[in-house]
């Protein structure tokens, strides 16, 4: 397999204004355990394996290891699109927790990304929530603003706020109070099939530089080979859609609000701006004009694009480094000619930075998950075993497990995770990890607003669907979405 060469210029470009703007805005005076200003694949390699941590000893200071208690816990778990490797780490985590805290009776429940918010909201209405929950980054503010969550900061479980990405801490902060701890933070990258590029007459080792290039490449792939060029995803109520469209929207200079700026105020709705419309137009051009993306994009999720990619029927997509491992898993399960075909795709997988917009802006969603403790009145039985909850949170957000639980697809929420020996192993075993860590500085968190889930999961995908189905023109769809966001922010019904 050819490892992609990220040119030095590109890498240095990664350590740019965007890095500091997005990541250091909340704690300029603090001292994080790693030097964020030096962030690059080389720097990440240089710190990997330089420090040992003793999770059990650290967590024992928070909750004694012989503590007797009971904990109910819901979490966004692994799903069909995750690699087997991650499945094993989740299993290991809960086994280790039970060994470390043998007297805590843990009742955990895994839910998929798309189901968790709905189920959690319903449980809260019936005061039947779990004592602790791990939510996607988008959900923290919603529940904090409504008063469901207990204040919880890294110091409460033995860590320091500076041990976590400042951008991620924003997503767990509401009106100056911290209500959770980041478990992992992710930025995706751009993946393409070099063989498809080559057959389509494109440079097999060069990612499209801009989103306009993505539109052109997608058309060229489709016209020459008759397969889908870019893996567009536009399903509603699916986390995949905003994760793939927002980088495009931000790159063109658009946004829902001003969330792409260093200090967002979320004052003005920008979805109807010329830049936002240009981003939507690019999707329209691919789906409607060129028909160069999967027709099924409106009902598909990323998990549906993975088999297309491994089947050699899709040229490029935005995804995690874990997709490489997913492809390996799928290849192992394939038989006969399919196995060889899958191997060809794996051999030709290339990862690069997500393309820029016309003005050179590069962006990616700064995603991830956070862990929270609920207030007792919303919990089944009306009691929260706080020491038990803190024991689990301490363990999950420790350098060791915060890294292991994000092993293939994401990055540790606790920055000390980058210093562990497992990070070193990971860099050696997970291909293309350096590309996604290089994308971290371009990460933009979703708006830290209680309305963010509705905006990202419903209004933005609706806008895409309205434009791509021809139900509205691009301008109408963008204006309609802008109006819906404005109505929502004004209180709506």
């Amino acid at each position: 397999m050819t490892r992609i060469t990220l040119g030095g210029a590109v890498l240095r470009g990664a350590v740019s204004t965007a890095l500091l703007a997005s990541l250091m805005s909340t704690s300029a005076l603090a001292e994080p355990p790693v030097d964020l200003s030096k962030w690059s694949p080389e720097y990440v390699r240089s710190i990997a394996g330089t420090q040992d941590f003793d999770m059990a000893a650290d967590c024992a200071k928070v909750t004694p290891l012989d503590y007797k208690g009971r904990l109910t816990f819901w979490y966004q778990g692994v799903f069909e699109g995750d690699p087997d490797l991650l499945r094993q780490y989740y299993k290991d985590f809960f086994e280790t927790f039970r060994k470390t805290y043998p007297n805590i009776q843990l009742e955990e429940q895994a839910l998929t990304y798309n189901d968790l918010l709905d189920k959690f909201r319903t449980a809260l209405l019936g005061n039947a929530a779990p004592m602790a929950v791990r939510l996607q980054i988008l959900g923290g503010t919603e529940f904090a603003s409504k008063g469901y969550l207990e204040p919880l900061k890294p110091e409460d479980v033995g860590y320091s706020t500076e041990d976590f990405w400042p951008g991620a801490m924003k997503a767990v902060t509401w009106e100056g109070v911290t209500y959770g701890i980041p478990t992992n933070n992710e930025t995706m990258a751009f993946i393409w099939n070099a063989d498809i590029f080559k057959r389509a007459g494109l440079d097999p080792d060069k990612a499209p530089a801009t989103w306009d290039d993505v539109v052109k490449y997608s058309k060229q792939i489709h016209d020459k080979l008759g397969i889908a060029g870019y893996g567009l995803v536009a399903r509603k109520n699916a986390g995949n859609t905003p994760y793939r469209f927002m980088p495009q929207l931000w790159a063109y200079g658009g946004g829902v609000f001003d969330e792409a700026t260093a200090n967002p105020t979320y004052g003005e709705v920008e979805l109807g701006s010329a830049q936002s419309k240009a981003a939507l137009q690019a999707s329209y051009d691919m789906y409607v004009r060129d028909k160069s993306v999967p027709v099924s994009a409106l009902t598909n999720q990323q998990a549906d694009n993975q088999p297309l990619f491994v089947g050699g029927q899709l040229g490029m997509m935005i995804s995690h480094p874990s997709d490489y491992n997913v492809m390996l898993d799928l290849q192992k399960k394939a038989t006969g000619a399919d196995k060889d075909k899958a191997q060809t795709v794996i051999d030709n997988m290339r990862y690069g930075l997500i393309p820029t917009g016309p003005d050179g802006k590069r962006a990616v969603v700064f995603g991830g998950s956070n862990i929270h403790i609920l207030k007792p009145e919303y919990v089944e039985g009306g009691k929260v075993d706080e020491p038990a909850a803190k024991a689990l949170i301490c363990m999950w957000t420790s350098p060791e497990w915060s890294l292991k639980m994000a092993y293939a697809g994401s990055n540790p929420g606790n920055l000390n995770g980058f210093k562990t020996k497992w990070m070193k192993q990971r860099l050696d075993s997970i291909k293309f990890l350096d590309v996604t860590t290089s994308m971290l500085p371009y990460g933009i968190p979703f708006p830290a607003l209680p309305q963010a889930p509705e905006i990202m999961n419903i209004i933005v995908p609706d806008m895409l669907q309205n434009a791509l189905t021809g139900a509205m023109t691009v301008d109408q769809a963008a204006d309609d979405a802008a109006k819906k966001v404005k109505d929502l922010m004004d209180g709506g019904l």
């Binding site: 603003s145 409504k146 099924s296 009902t299 309305q451 139900a471």
Partner: protein, 319 residues
Amino acid sequence: MTIVTGEADARPRLQPARSGLLREIWLHRADYAYVLPAIVVMLIVIAYPIYYTIELSFFKTPPGLQLRDKTFNGIDNYTAILTSDVFWRVTWNTMVWTVASTFIAFVLGFATALALHRDFIGRGILRAVLIIPWVISAVAASYIWKWIYHSDFGIIGAVLVGLGLTDRPPNFIDSVGTVLPSLIVVNIWREFPFAMIMMMAGLQTVPDQLLRAATVDGANAWQRFWHVTFPHLRNVSTVTILLLAVANFNSFIIPWIMTGGGPSNASHIWITHIYELAFGRQRWGVASAYSVLLFVILMTLGYFYVRALSGDERKEGGA
């Protein structure tokens, strides 16, 4: 005369209707005691949610607030619903979905029941095979059909392209024009066995001697069906249609799993729209108002269902 007078004298001593009702309850107090636990459970799990939904439909419940912070807004939710374009679009979708699914599933089920009513080799196997769509999990069926319809790699598309009938696979569920009919086909496929079973049961009740007599009298197949078979099936048909209609109004799994109401709301029906409003957008007030409207419609259908059933009983009682 004396007898008449005696009766007239006796009448005032009869309890008024209300007292009569109370007396009846008292006389059957043991029966009521037996059903009391069931009534209490029903009050808790049915009556209270209905009351709470109706109450909530008069409150504003913004997504940024907890439900307990709701504010009374009178009939604003109802006004907002009835003046919204989405409501009328979703209502139209719901009507098309319900009427088409109910009618076609019934006709198909009835036709199949008539075909299977005749004795032929393999009838039992065919009957069992045809019931499969009904017994299969709706979730599993939805995923299977999603892949059958897949706009890029669906089996239907592959066959049509393979036969050279089209250059590109047809777009079933990613187009606003075809998504609803495509989902209706799946729904009919799942529901027609139910109609078939109901009608097969009904056909067992048609007296053979009447059919034989009609044959002797020279009635052809259509006349035997129309004048003998069908009148006997009128009540079971009514019940079947009502049950199908209620099930289709409440149908959630197929549209939600296959399309999530999309694309561009083209396959949203009331129940999926209510779910999205409540759990996706946390407009509990508006969602409750929608639910109340749906409840009224379903209760109306329920009324006719009960009437159809009690009509049966009255006839049987009369006979």
